[in-house]
Subunit: 291 residues, 2 copies
Amino acid sequence: MIANHFTDMKIIRTVSEMQHHADELRKDKTIGFVPTMGYLHEGHLALVKAAKILADVVVVSIFVNPIQFGPSEDLSRYPRDFERDAKLLDEEKTDIIFYPDDGEMYEKAFSTYVEVKKLEDHLCGKTRAGHFTGVATVVTKLFNIVKPHYAVFGQKDYQQLTVIERMVRDLNQDVKIIPHPTIREADGLAMSSRNTYLSSEERRKALFISASLRKAEEMFSSGIRDAGEIRKAVNTILHTEDGIDVEYIDICDAMTLEDISTLEKKAVLAIACRVGKTRLIDNTILTEALQ
Amino acid sequence: MIANHFTDMKIIRTVSEMQHHADELRKDKTIGFVPTMGYLHEGHLALVKAAKILADVVVVSIFVNPIQFGPSEDLSRYPRDFERDAKLLDEEKTDIIFYPDDGEMYEKAFSTYVEVKKLEDHLCGKTRAGHFTGVATVVTKLFNIVKPHYAVFGQKDYQQLTVIERMVRDLNQDVKIIPHPTIREADGLAMSSRNTYLSSEERRKALFISASLRKAEEMFSSGIRDAGEIRKAVNTILHTEDGIDVEYIDICDAMTLEDISTLEKKAVLAIACRVGKTRLIDNTILTEALQ
């Protein structure tokens, strides 16, 4: 049993109660939704603030979705602290936390998956088999449970955002997806629940990631359009010191996520690497608007 | 442009208009839904009647879903007659026909699919690769567009019904699925839009299908529980004359669709065969309630 110390914030733990409540709300209010895996940081809270501006009622879900973790990934060590999360969300005047347990979301005979083909073959999809199917599936479930008018997703998980936008269009999910710029620490590190895994030495090294993105933006602004040249410069920065293990540095079309060699249309530079045992991702959008 | 001669029945052709209308309706009414591929017969109309009893407003969709047809299947020759369908639905006091064209349902970059694993490996799934993914995907889209409280599906397409029920549970689609018994011609043939393909000679031969199901029910009622014995009797009846090409005669668990050798729990006997070039399916549920 989760104690609810919050007078104005509701904590809902079952699918049926959330659906019933959403139906009632939709009669005369709009619902804004922020799906999270908890262990909230300023990045999440920025999404909540954005949702508050858009909608009458804000629902935040906290659910560490097991089906988006691979067998060798960090599901069991993924950080969790519901009491702290609830306090932070209450301070943001969140209306409802949807906080189901695993059994409420996945019954034993569960066997239906939402697959966004093609988009999941690129970037993180290459090494995280099934990850985006897990994400698309749980987000579809959450949309059917929370019934939001708006859902806010951070651009830090760029491929996730692209997959969700494609899925919403394809399946006619009646939700407007609101992308939100990446929130960073003062020194540039993209906020992530996984940053908590970093030692102070790793934390320092991780700064090369955002530094390399800033370098790429500079090169793009100065007129460089050769993807190979930008990639090379990013790679050099990431290898300034030992300790960053690069998984990919990809420059791709911002819609299809296909690799490009020349930057013409809206492109995204996306990086995944390991700092110690911690996998970090970051990205920047390279578009004429930057000029 | 589709002319609308019907004063009380609305014909909606776009996703956005249907969604908007559904949102308005849901504020104080319940929506019943019957998805069809058109070329309606008494079987469909029975589903519409059932929906009328359940819900305040009945929506029927007419859409021949291209992604559920295999490359060698009958998509282009599938029978269509919108004017006739609309007239029949008007007589049933249908409130709304949702009648989108292919482009409205599938844009060029479409790439998201809903897959119900395991259930699609059995029965028709063995020869119709991708068929049930096509069905689950379009039904998900239609649920997101029509936003029904109830959706009525015929038991004639037993595997389809099972797949949809599993999907609705797994994805938390907030729709109550209402199964409806198979409607038959006076002589026993299960109604199907594909019956229109049959020559009168084929039409006569097709009667062996329902006759074989009645024989199986009799055997079950008399206490026979050996699936092999029932299967053999069914097979014998289907081969009374030349001209029926049996694809499968399967006796399986009514929930998981896995083959069973002894009838203990609720089971289904399902048949697929070709009469001439026309593929026909039929089934019966074998359960103690029959006794």
